[in-house]
Amino acid sequence: MISIQNVSKWYGDFQVLGDCTTQVQKGEVVVVCGPSGSGKSTLIKCVNSLEPFQQGDIVVDGTSLADPKTDLPKLRARVGMVFQHFELFPHLTVTENLTLAQVKVLGRGKAEATEKGLALLERVGLKAHAHKHPGQLSGGQQQRVAIARALAMDPVVMLFDEPTSALDPEMVNEVLDVMVQLAQEGMTMMCVTHEMGFARKVANRVIFMDRGSIVEDCAKEEFFGDVSARSERARQFLAKILQH
């Protein structure tokens, strides 16, 4: 579904991604973790070309991003993305947030888009808030709306960029619950997150990044199983986040 091939990226002289290669199969859930500044957010933003890269290629569902002829908006419409800071559109109601791109990008009728939006809103447990503006919702609620907004486009894959890092602790679970449910339904997912509980529960593979490179890329059982077999950097990282 996603094939990342030898991707490198520089900001000026500074290399943020170094020769990253990995795959995400259809129906697979891959968790990307690593210390801040390790390039994990940059990597996931490269997957729907929100960030350009200078070397290598990423192929999403058969479409090459390095190919200059690729219609990027069209590709992005098929890739759902959830951001750390939700990025709901504050000047629109929740329903409008869910329907705007369906109508303007996919060309769906207003009635069809609204029906779809409300169904997804019900699924994330927020149907009662349909008429509100994002500013009237809590962080957890906003992030659930953001997930519904991405799902409304019927994406072939979902990307999550630290979806729970900006949330109060008590709201983390309501968002993770939606993500777990999504994973169990077979959605292909690539998630940048530090929620190791989530990784243990639903991930198929775990990728560990450090200083712009993929250091570990292995099955979940292997990653959490024999810690002594992990790289020095991954051991330090795991020791820090699993301590409490």
Partner: protein
């Protein structure tokens, strides 16, 4: 002081005020439109496009409005003759309007640019992640939010334009101030007419800026 001839002059003053208001409304609309276009150009990744817009803005902000008005009064008919090949009289109103639109666009551009830059980058990313093109993201997501934030500043600039429209006297257009002045001269009461004109400008501008203040408070919440 003798204000007795004011009532009889009201229709003429009203005519002048209408000219002033027409210049104001059309000038603001055109200025905001052109200003928004310039702002998008200044924010474009293409250096040439951005520099051209910057040159335009810096040029028009560096010369007096009075100069622009007189200049366009002579330049617009000349330019039209070059384009169409025949004499096309445009009149003082049209040439003044062009001057206002082009001059104010430089100021509106900077307001709009600041407004766009005040919108978090993530909004553009989110719109594009949903498959919207750059144009759609701008039009549907960034600009509506930016304009909401800028409304007080745009109105403030419009109040300044309201006062600046009086400069059209230099090319003989009868706006409100010019109407008051010529009427005052005709009936021999120039001071009284100018006092009334000043009062009208004050009341309109002051009321409008009070409105802006209240709007600012409401939008701040």
């Amino acid at each position: 002081m003798d204000f007795s001839s004011i009532p009889a002059a009201l229709p003429a003053l009203w005519d002048g005020l209408q000219t002033t208001l027409q210049l104001l409304v059309l000038g603001v609309l055109g200025g905001v439109l052109l200003g928004t276009l310039l702002a998008m150009m200044r924010l474009a990744h293409n250096r040439l496009v951005a520099n051209l817009a910057a040159l335009y803005v810096n040029y028009f902000r560096s010369i007096p409005l009075l100069l622009v008005i007189t200049w366009f009064y002579f330049a617009v008919p000349f330019a039209l003759r070059e384009i169409t090949g025949e004499d096309t009289p445009v009149g003082a109103f049209a040439s003044c309007l062009v001057a206002f639109v082009m001059f104010e666009a430089a100021y509106f551009c900077e307001i709009v640019r600041a407004g766009i830059q005040a919108i978090p980058k993530g909004q553009m990313s989110a719109a594009q992640a949903l498959g919207m093109t750059y144009g759609q993201s701008m039009r549907l997501i960034v600009l509506p939010q930016a304009f909401r934030k800028m409304t007080p500043l745009l109105l403030q600039q419009s109040i300044i334009l309201f006062q600046d429209t009086s400069l059209v006297y230099s090319v003989g257009l009868i706006d409100f101030l010019n109407a008051a002045r010529s009427r005052g001269d005709i009936v021999g009461q120039p001071h009284e007419f100018l006092i009334v004109a000043g009062l009208v400008y004050f009341v309109v501008s002051f009321a409008a800026s009070q409105l802006v203040k209240r709007l600012q408070k409401r939008l701040a919440v």
